[in-house]
Amino acid sequence: MLIKIDIEKCTGCGTCVNVCPFAAIILKDDKAFITEACTLCGACVDSCPESAIIDERGKEAIREEEFKGVWIFAEQSNGKIASVAYELLGIGRKLADELNTELSAVLFGPSQEVEELIKWGADKVYYVDSPDYAFLDDELYSKTLVKLIQEQKPEILLAGATAIGRSFIPRVAARLKVGLTADCTGLEIDKETGNLLQIRPAFGGNIMATIVSPTSRPQIATVRPRVMKRGEYNAQRTGNIIKIEPLNPSGRVKVLERVQDTSFCKVNIQDAKVIVSGGRGLGTEKGFQILWELANLLGGTVGASRAAVDEGWIPYAHQVGQTGKTVCPKLYIACGISGAVQHLVGMQSSDIIVAINKDPNAPIFNVATYGIVGDVYEIVPLMIKKLQEGVSE
């Protein structure tokens, strides 16, 4: 919004509330808050005795109309394009259609799968196939992407909230001096202004916030894997693949070696269809043994809450939640997890959630499709036994 309240200066006197002809200002926690009803008329600006209302309507001019097109950044690892790239193409296609513009993908590093981006919905692919781009080099990636953005001027850029996207996209936003909204769970176009509405959980998921970058272009957002759905696949779809000249790496960061086969790498919990997750309620590291047993029986893997990881019972790669991974399996079984909001934001979009907990008031039951008040050490072994017997067929 182009009129905003400086919360620090605002005394909550309510003068602006009475002045606003559209009843678009309300008092929340003794501070003025401008709601969506605001028409940017500006009546409130001079009314404030504390000069706490900031008027940036003049800034609108900065926004260049020439910015056009929706871009997604397609990341690859060992030449394989990450699943999140196709999910971004799904939402990107929707946004581009709504804006009546093109959808382009940007791919850094050699990959045999570049055509796939077109088939999943891209009109164009900007492709750098130099081996210098095979691994993430933050400086090289951001320099190249910034140069491309300055030449082509897209209005929206989406990237995965992954180890790669989270690392170098902030660098791109900083260099361009534009806004970036991380970990969005919803993206829409504001029909009136054409701004990208970036929806994400705030304050640990207790509340959702809609964020806009009204005065800067491109609008940049990252999206966690498994949050968006893929679009339509069309093997006959055609598009342009535009090769981009590589830049020279600065050499300040050099990847010496990639190590794939240690214990924590085996788990990519984001790809699992079934996750059996354990928390502090397990009481001991040994508890994870029965969870593994159940997970193996169900063809799944094991996840954990932050509490269990902090206790050192299981490596960080298994952590689900705000500071871990976001997962979206078909079946999520939470064992001895109370369900702090930070955990819930990482798993609540799972198809079916089963919660087992001793405490009937545990917040995990608020999101559970099936809740069981009971002892994990009684219920889980019973499940294992009955599954092995093939009971109730």
Partner: protein, 130 residues
């Protein structure tokens, strides 16, 4: 920050193997593996939990902390330009906040542990989860 300072950065560092005059060898956690990286310094790194276990504070340290004078700086002290900081300096802004939509159907399974588990397995079979 690294971009503004024009220094390299590496995120998700899980291990610092060695530091020399001009470079450090570190391990970066990626989504599907980890990478061993040589990084020239000065540099900025962000780390994950595995990097280190903080040592417990010593009694002597606690005493020193009590007496320590910690300077507090504000925007003027560090000569930050008002245009570039806080709400004014941020290109993003919160347009609206709302409560997250509630999740669909919820059922509490009751009975003896035996009954509960059978009910659960039956339900999961019905939904095609097993």
């Amino acid at each position: 920050m690294a971009e503004f300072l024009d220094i390299p950065h590496v995120s998700y560092v899980r291990k610092i193997e060695s530091v020399s005059q001009s470079e450090m060898i570190i391990e970066r956690l990626m989504d599907d593996c980890y990478e061993k990286i040589a990084l020239s310094i000065p540099a900025l790194i962000t780390v994950v939990k595995e990097l280190n276990v903080p040592r417990p504070p010593s009694i002597r340290g606690k005493m020193a902390a009590k007496k320590a004078v910690i300077p507090k700086w504000n925007a003027d002290d560090i000569e930050a330009e008002e245009e570039n900081i806080g709400l004014k300096g941020s290109p993003t802004m919160v347009k609206n906040i709302f409560a997250p939509p509630p999740r669909g159907e919820r059922t509490m399974l009751e009975g003896t542990p035996d009954e509960i588990v059978e009910k659960l397995i039956r339900e999961l079979r019905r939904l095609g989860c097993l």
